[in-house]
């Protein structure tokens, strides 16, 4: 099979069910993805996310470049280490990828640079696009393939990490604010994640990943696979690139309007004209949450029928282990109200239409 992360031998030794994920051999689960999901909601779990692509952006025009490249505005990053979630759009206003960017220095400092983390499945396309857009800027793009990345997530995640790392890293972990990241002795430790729980994402040299993973395991952190990662992010109402949005979808149709920084009006980012035009004319569809409290599981690509309004489609659907019933994200006509029906196995099943997220910090949050 394809690429292996620095933790591959660990996954194998733990009995993981390995699957191909965009050319990487990654753990789907280590026995039960539902149990892994509960571990993250109630305690602490860890994910090998080393397959994700890390690109450092430096150079005199790093900020100008990112303000052109991204639909959200890195100028809003006022403090060293602050993270920003953004879409990267094409000229037509479609989503090339969604990403996290960290300001790695003080703002406006000499040598200001940024770290960008993009999806693995879009790596080649992203890198090509980022390089193309960089031509007229004084910037350097440096991929960091030798960094492993481990996400430790859950209410006990930071506490467990503090137990096994050096004193200075432990102090950083205890003091780090949400959505900030800082370097510490060669590691980049960020209080970010994709689960709707507190936790960390740690980027560290590949040759240190195995021992850190084993220490976390010994501290009681449960290894979790891509299966649990998907149900956790779905409960948290977080989009999955390629499922909930792609190059043919505007952020306005993917519940990502909040990530579009249209002020200041003179910032000329890629896709701005298309986004403004769609905003003015009004998007025809929107991304919403669906809830099915009776038996059955909502699945991607099932048809959503909104009586008197039109039709839509589920973009991501699964069973919610926390809630005990099925939830989904669906793209539906803008006029959709609080109810709809989903075509499941030849029958139309009524569902509730809600505003995601479904679960935050272990609790149901929609009504």
């Amino acid at each position: 099979m394809g690429h292996k992360t620095a933790l591959h031998a660990q996954h194998h030794a733990l009995g993981a069910k390995l699957v191909d994920f965009s050319g990487w051999e990654m753990p789907l689960h280590y026995g039960s993805q539902v149990e892994e999901h509960h571990k993250v909601r109630q305690h602490a779990g860890m994910f090998d996310v080393s397959h994700m692509t890390i690109v450092d952006v430096s150079g005199a025009q790093a900020r100008s470049y990112l303000r052109h490249l991204l639909a959200n505005d890195v100028a809003s990053l006022q403090h060293k280490g602050k993270a920003l979630y953004s879409a990267m759009l094409n000229e037509a206003g479609g989503v090339i990828d969604d990403l996290i960017v960290y300001l790695m220095t003080e703002p406006d400092a000499a040598g200001e640079w940024y770290r960008v983390v993009v999806n693995c499945g879009t790596r080649e396309n992203d890198l090509r696009w980022m390089a193309d857009q960089a031509v007229r800027f004084d910037v350097a793009l440096t991929e960091q393939p030798e960094l492993a990345m481990i996400a430790i997530q859950g209410p006990k995640a930071r506490q467990r990490v503090e137990q096994v790392v050096s004193e200075s890293r432990a102090r950083l972990v205890s003091e780090l604010k949400p959505f900030f990241g800082q370097e510490s002795e060669g590691w980049f430790i960020a209080r970010t994640g994709y689960t709707g729980e507190d936790g960390l994402e740690i980027m560290l040299p590949e040759d240190e990943a195995e021992s850190f993973w084993q220490q976390l395991l010994a501290a009681g952190v449960a290894p979790c696979g891509l299966g649990a990662r998907d149900t956790l992010r779905l409960e948290a109402g977080m989009n999955l690139y390629g499922a909930d949005m792609d190059e043919g979808v505007s952020p306005l149709e993917a519940a990502m309007g909040w990530t579009l920084a249209l002020e200041p009006v003179d910032r000329d980012f890629v896709g701005r004209a298309a986004v403004e035009a769609l905003k003015a004319s009004g998007a025809a569809s929107k991304l919403v949450g669906l809830v099915l409290t009776e038996r059955g599981v909502l699945r991607a690509h099932q048809k959503v029928v909104v009586e008197g309004v039109g039709e839509g489609e589920i973009t991501s659907g699964s069973f919610s282990p926390t809630l005990g019933y099925s939830i989904a994200l669906a793209r539906v006509p803008v006029g959709t109200g609080s109810t709809a029906a989903v075509e499941m196995r030849g029958k139309q099943v009524p569902v509730q239409v809600v505003r995601p997220p479904f679960v935050r910090h272990g609790e149901k949050v929609f009504s």
Binding site: L28, H29, V34, G227, R295, G296, V297, R299, F319, R345
Partner: protein
């Protein structure tokens, strides 16, 4: 490799059949099938008293990953269903040949038992699908 008990019979659609004698069989899905499905979250069973023919749909098993039909491996009347699966669908994963059983049939044609696969035949079938 998944567990394929020698004392059971099988069909290619991944149900197992235990002959309880007196014309009654117990049906479930195999270890191989539950492994492919992943965590089972709902099981829809046939109605008690329903008459089914071999190959008919007789329920649905839904995992986190996928929905899959359950087929009646033999013809007969549904005389028992495993109601415990309503609250504990995970038994299908943890104990597919025990607590994870689905339903019992009273056979209408015991000769159909001769059409079933034995453990070796089923293992070879799984091998050919992989």
């Amino acid at each position: 490799m998944s567990n394929v008990p020698n004392e059971l019979k099988y069909v290619a659609s991944h149900e197992w059949i235990r002959d309880e004698g007196n014309g009654i069989v117990t049906v479930g899905i195999t270890d191989h099938a539950q492994d492919l499905l992943g965590d089972v979250v709902f099981v829809e069973l046939p109605d008690l008293g329903a008459e089914v023919a071999a190959g008919d749909d007789a329920g649905v098993v839904e995992s986190v990953k996928a929905a899959s039909d359950i087929y009646a491996p033999l013809s007969g009347e549904v005389v028992a269903i495993n109601e415990a699966l309503e609250d504990a669908p995970e038994s299908v994963n943890s104990d597919p040949y025990g607590d994870g059983w689905f339903f019992q049939l009273k056979l209408s044609d015991a000769a159909e038992l001769g059409d079933l696969l034995d453990a070796d035949g089923y293992a070879a079938h799984c091998e050919s699908e992989s």
